[in-house]
Amino acid sequence: MHLILSYSDRVLFLAYSYIQDDTKTRMTILDAPNKNFGLDTKEFDRLVEALKRGNTDLFKSIFQNHFRDCVSYIQRKYSATYDDAYDASMTTILVFRKRLVEDKIAYGNLRFLFTKMASQHYIKAAKSVSTASIDNVEISDSEEDGIHDEDIQKLSLAWNRLDDACKELLQMNYYGGMKLAEIALQLNKSATAIRKQKERCKSKLINLFHN
């Protein structure tokens, strides 16, 4: 049973569980933060909001703490090497962030979900290695989307030279998955102004990339 409750709801339910002497409900409510990296629903909402705005500080501190447990779990469960368990856990952190900003992950049992996803990444990677050795063919991500490591390095240099306003806007739109209308609301500007600003920022970034 996954409870999606606000802080005040949790207090009410907890009080109710004591009155009714309902141990199961009481334990579920008390255990909720444990299952969700110590976050209650409000903190979870704040985490997602921050990620959408491009602020990853809270996210990093939470997942750094859980990372070691996850690596150990995969090593234990699948007799995986440290490196493979590490890679699976790191991939999961990045995918988890993406799903959070896309509102595809709800408060419930985040710890379990994260570990489950890391296990799936590990199994998938292990399978792809064995398939590659049979077919002698390996297609990397960069070959699939045509964006190579060198491009990313150049883009990173260009990004560092981009002004803060453009970084903020592109980060919210691209990395935070926010729609331009939402950004306009957040930045207290009109949607048209934000759309035009985005086009200018894209041109600036590409020019910096090329020069």
């Binding site: 990853t56 990093k60 501190s61 997942f63 750094q64 990372f67 070691r68 690596v71 090497t81 440290y82 490196d83 790191m90 952190i93 990045l94 962030r97 993406k98 989307d145 045509g146 964006i147 190579h148 060198e150 491009d151 990313i152 390095q153 150049k154 883009l155 990173s156 240099l157 990004w159 560092n160 803060d164 592109l170 980060q171 691209y174 990395y175 894209k202 970034l205 590409i206 990339f209 090329h210």
Partner: protein, 225 residues
């Protein structure tokens, strides 16, 4: 194969947006990963460079032993003969004189940021890919940050990027690192196989400048090739 820039220029407006979106996501994911790795290496025994226990990796010991033997042979070859490959000689010069970051300057008037400290630590630990990523993330980079960013790229084998950053840094003729940057830029050109530009750059290193003798040796080798 088309480069990202060519692809972008030839794409429709919609595709351009999707392409840039993917590239920015990839880049920011890499930055996030670096930051998490720094956090992991800073506060726990788990480390980004930690691998399986060394004793269990016998094949690794064999490979390292073989590599060390080859390295000794190469060094001996260079020392005994003047006809060694110029890239090998350049690599030798770079590896025998590994730079270290002196740390954040005292009294610089700026509170050292955590990210800069992490970058310096990674650089001095010779984890150049990580230090490069971290130096890039410093929002207001000073002259020193840019200098060590360039060295991180060079020692990480990212020669094109090192060249790009060094050329930009050298636009400031009053930089306190001009002599060092002339040397490192020449080295980056050699390792990137830009021999003509390497020659021009080596000629900028004058008598009395840092590594003048080495520059002359490299120039002589270049003229023979």
């Amino acid at each position: 194969m088309k480069s990202f820039y060519e692809k972008y220029q030839n794409a429709s407006e919609e595709t351009k947006d999707a392409l840039l979106n993917r590239a920015v996501n990839k880049m920011l994911d890499k930055q996030l990963q670096s930051e998490i790795e720094v956090g992991l290496s800073a506060d726990q025994p788990i480390s980004i460079t930690k691998k399986e226990p060394f004793a269990r990796r016998r094949w690794l010991r064999i490979v390292i032993a073989a590599a060390a033997s080859i390295a000794v042979l190469i060094v001996a070859y260079i020392n005994l003969s003047d006809t060694g490959d110029i890239t090998v000689l350049t690599s030798k010069y770079l590896s025998e004189d590994l730079p270290t970051h002196p740390g954040v300057e005292k009294g610089a008037g700026e509170q050292a940021t955590k990210i800069r400290n992490d970058a310096i630590k990674a650089f001095n630990d010779q984890n150049y890919t990580l230090s490069g990523n971290l130096f890039k993330q410093i929002s207001k980079k000073g002259e020193e940050d840019n200098y060590y960013l360039a060295l991180s790229s060079l020692y990480a084998g990212q020669y094109s990027e090192a060249i790009q950053v060094l050329q930009k840094n050298l636009q400031n003729p009053n930089s306190k690192y001009v002599q060092e940057m002339n040397w490192y830029l020449a080295s980056a050109f050699i390792l990137n196989d830009n021999k003509e530009q390497a020659t021009q750059q080596l000629e900028q290193i004058n008598p009395g400048n840092w590594n003048y003798d080495k520059a002359q040796k490299l120039l002589r080798k270049l003229s023979k090739q």
